[in-house]
């Protein structure tokens, strides 16, 4: 009986969950449902309440109101040791007085597993995270990435129905983080584990999860797949937190073939989205949708634009374009052919701009 064979994840439902700290509302009526085996990332800046939300599911914190159900059973009244959840803590919280195997066995001992079962499960977990042979190592002898794997193994060992991960890769170097993102995501999918992941790193959220929940000031703003969230954010915060982009104020001129025609900054162009003709709207234009074309090109949205500034950023370059007071950013692969001061025109990628609801 191992986690892989017998214990796929369960459903998790969070309903109207609220938590105050004094007069501060850290989590404000948050509702969120995870299907069995689904991985959802809660993405938000520090102070958004995402760790508080996770702590209430894990039982380290008590909500002021609201309900949490796993497989339909309410768990709010249960202490953390009675909950079918397990947490991978920020900075791992590995027990410094225990070695790798003892850390992983800790939860099993607490759950009164028989000794041979514990040994088998510990060996299995170490194999899962690729640390076989490290049983007797002290925690202080492990690298950051290895500690992360031990923390994951320790949490998975107790066969939780829902796995909670609090900034699981936050303490790691970029290289290791990128590799572990992939490994950890694949492992959770293979186990069909339901997982709620808290992170401030957009890339981590997008790489590991099925859906992403954007959180700010204690409220859930939008829950959607990574692609949907990036292409069609519902508000200015989500739009800019998830990537670069320019928000323009404009007016819907007409609807045309399922698209909208919007007038903004002295030009009209087509956008995705919904809205009534004549209403004032905010349009999101991401840099990759801003195409630099020769000045005078027919079909360009804005003519007589000046290349103001070029910032190489590795495989891409960021370019700031200006037309009077109007500034907009573009991005190109590699180094641009233009140089600051060049006169160019801007075309917009079809179905790039998005009218936010």
């Amino acid at each position: 009986m191992t986690a892989e064979e017998n214990m796929p994840g369960a459903t998790l439902e969070i309903a109207e969950l609220t938590r105050h700290f004094g007069s501060v509302v850290a989590v404000d009526k948050v509702s969120l449902a995870l299907a069995a085996g689904e991985i959802v990332a809660i993405l938000g800046p520090s102070g958004s309440g995402k760790s508080t939300l996770l702590g209430m599911v894990g039982g380290q914190l008590r909500p002021n109101s609201g309900d949490i159900r796993i497989s339909g059973e309410a768990i709010v009244e249960l202490p953390p040791n009675k909950r079918p959840t397990a947490t991978v803590f920020q900075d791992y919280a590995l027990f410094p007085h225990l070695n790798v195997a003892e850390n992983i066995a800790f939860g099993l001992r607490m759950h009164r597993w028989a000794k041979p079962d514990i040994e088998r499960q510990v060996a299995h977990m170490l194999e899962l995270v690729g640390l076989s042979g490290y049983e007797r190592r002290a925690i202080s002898q492990l690298s950051g990435g290895q500690r992360q794997r031990v923390a994951t193994a320790r949490a998975l060992a107790v066969q939780p129905r829902v796995l909670l991960l609090d900034e699981p890769l936050g303490a790691l170097d970029r290289q290791i983080r990128l590799r572990l993102q992939k490994e950890l995501g694949e492992l959770l999918r293979r186990l069909r584990m339901t997982a709620l992941l808290v992170t401030h790193d957009q890339q981590e959220a997008f790489a590991m999860s099925d859906r992403v929940a954007v959180m700010r000031n204690g409220k859930l703003l939008q829950v959607a797949t990574p692609g949907e969230l990036y292409r069609s954010p519902h508000d200015a915060f989500t739009a800019t937190f998830l990537g670069k982009g320019r928000l323009l104020s404009g007016t819907i001129v007409k609807q045309e073939a399922g698209m909208l025609v919007v007038a903004a900054e002295g030009a009209t162009f087509t956008c995705r989205g919904e809205g009534q003709s004549g209403s004032a709207v905010e349009v999101l234009i991401r840099p990759e949708h801003v195409l630099i074309v020769p000045n005078g090109s027919s079909g360009a949205t804005w003519q007589d634009v000046t290349v103001q500034d070029i910032t190489p950023a590795g495989e891409t370059s960021d370019i700031v374009l200006a037309r009077g007071d109007f500034r907009i950013e573009s991005v190109v692969l590699g180094l641009p052919v233009h140089k600051p001061g060049d006169k160019v025109a801007i075309g917009l990628a079809p179905s790039g701009p998005f009218v936010m609801p």
Binding site: S51, G55, Q60, L61
Partner: protein
């Protein structure tokens, strides 16, 4: 944050249970006995309420006032002497020495000598200060003196030396601890902004370490108030301190009310002395800054 909430969730029942044994012991075996002592000081030997004990202090012929003032004076001298040792050494150990091994070794040696206890520590000084002690023998060998100096042992000097020896580690430890937690980059920033090593120490390190220094100063002052061994073993007859007088009232004169009075006076005057030291120190510091006297010299001024 999460830990804080676990605590709240569990309520404060455990905290009462954890605090109760020690706080109750303090009440029964510390607060009440001290209160009893204070009450006893207000009686005479037949048990009648009386202020005679306090009045007797004013009797100059008894010499008790001299003893009290000597005790307080030596307490202040011990603070100053301990500061002279502890401040540079604590700074050296906490921030200057590069090798953790040397740092540990020195702390280990100081702790080991400290924990040998006041009796052994005090007795051991007799072989240094005696007529044929280490100092006299060395000076004679070097030809610096032709006769041994007799006044080294049995006097205020010997007593003060031993007292300082017995208590300065308190100040060293508290100062070391409070300097240890100062971020190295803060000192580096001060130096980077033009502070000399001395200015960095006096303007940055010392103010940040002040709580530890003050705690240590109290911890070295308090034991000098209760010093019996040092005056008796090294002080000779002319250097009695209050603690000896108290001991004598309890064990030789068997005048407990008077002994109680002396302890009350000792505590009260000791507290006042500490307050005065604090006041004078802060006034002196304020005066220095008022007249633009810097406690450290900026490096480019040299």
């Amino acid at each position: 944050m999460s830990a804080g909430l676990v605590k709240n969730a569990r309520g404060s029942g455990w905290i009462t249970a954890a605090a109760l044994p020690w706080l109750a012991s303090l009440l029964v075996f510390f607060a009440l006995p001290l209160a009893g002592l204070a009450a006893l000081s207000l009686t005479d030997q037949s048990g009648q309420v009386s202020l005679a004990n306090y009045a007797s202090l004013a009797d100059l012929a008894s010499g008790r006032l001299d003893v009290l003032l000597r005790t307080l004076r030596i307490g202040v001298i011990v603070i100053i002497a301990s500061l002279c040792i502890a401040l540079p050494v604590a700074y050296y150990l906490a921030k200057v020495v590069q090798s953790p091994r040397i740092e540990s070794l020195i702390l280990l040696l100081v702790s080991a000598t400290f924990l040998a206890g006041p009796l052994v520590r005090t007795v051991s000084w007799r072989g240094i200060l005696g007529v044929h002690g280490l100092i006299n023998e060395s000076l004679l060998q070097l030809g610096l003196i032709s006769e041994p100096i007799l006044s080294l042992l049995y006097g205020e000097l010997a007593m003060t030396l031993a007292l300082t020896y017995n208590v300065f580690p308190f100040l060293l430890f508290t100062t070391y601890l409070s300097m240890k937690v100062i971020d190295d980059r803060i000192i580096a920033a001060a130096r980077d902004l033009g502070a000399s090593p001395a200015a960095a120490f006096f303007r940055v390190v010392l103010p940040l370490a002040a709580p530890g220094v003050v705690t240590g100063a109290v911890l070295v002052f308090v034991p000098t108030l209760s010093a019996v061994l040092e005056p008796e073993i090294l002080g000779g007859t002319s250097s009695r301190l209050m603690a000896t007088a108290i001991r004598d009232q309890f064990f030789h004169a068997h005048n407990w009310p008077l002994g109680a009075t002396l302890t009350v006076v000792l505590i009260v005057s000791g507290t006042i002395t500490l307050m005065l030291v604090a006041l004078v120190t802060s006034l002196a510091l304020r005066a220095c800054s008022h007249y633009g006297l810097s406690t450290g010299v900026p490096s480019h001024a040299k």
